[in-house]
Symmetry: C2
Subunit: 119 residues, 2 copies
């Protein structure tokens, strides 16, 4: 059936979470939020576009940093309330300049950082 963003299930703020995963390596890069408008912008442009909850505006990932996410595939989960974007990430995905936002792990009950910022 043709895809219609209106058929997805959004939360009370009209948002749903979208996971970004590097297509080539399988690394999970980040999670951010999308609304209907950002899903349409992502599909129309081929570049992942989120909704910035802090700014209350569309957030074309990398529009200022150049660290864009080329969309390779968009997956919908069984409950239709979460998306998985397979992407080609240009530069680091994280605003800390790390490859992924998930750079903190637990070792022996303590937090450790697994990645350093890229230069």
């Amino acid at each position: 059936m043709p895809f219609d963003p209106d058929t997805l299930k959004y939360d009370g703020n009209g948002l749903l979470p979208c996971i970004a995963q590097e297509e080539a390596t399988g690394e999970v890069l980040m999670l951010a939020w999308m609304n209907r408008e950002s899903i349409r912008a992502t599909l129309d442009s081929g570049r992942v576009t989120y909704w910035s909850r802090s700014r209350g505006a569309l957030w074309a990932k990398g529009e200022t940093s150049g660290h864009v996410q080329e969309l390779v595939d968009l997956r919908i989960d069984c409950d239709r309330d979460c998306l998985l974007a397979l992407v080609r990430q240009h530069g680091p995905a994280c605003h800390t300049n790390r490859r992924s936002c998930f750079y903190t792990a637990l070792r022996g009950g303590a937090e450790v950082e697994l990645m350093t910022p890229e230069s």
Copy 2:
């Protein structure tokens, strides 16, 4: 520093999203929600335990189906408002009996299913 679930950032309902990823293959399996109690239960038991929003109760993944998720590693994102659980998934992760919940993709603007239920 020692990990304290109270230092994470929860939403207005005391929840944050947790992505489950198969450690061996990198496949993203599902996204569900955790609160402080479920995070502690996950770390204490070594099996991923979510918070069921529909039931309003702890949800030890696989407690009825046997499709448990052994925790291999728990990652925290830069904003401390999202978790990534690297797991060893026993059986299918999805309640539809598919390996992953993200089995629907877009091809030429239409939805297609990439996986069939396991028997």
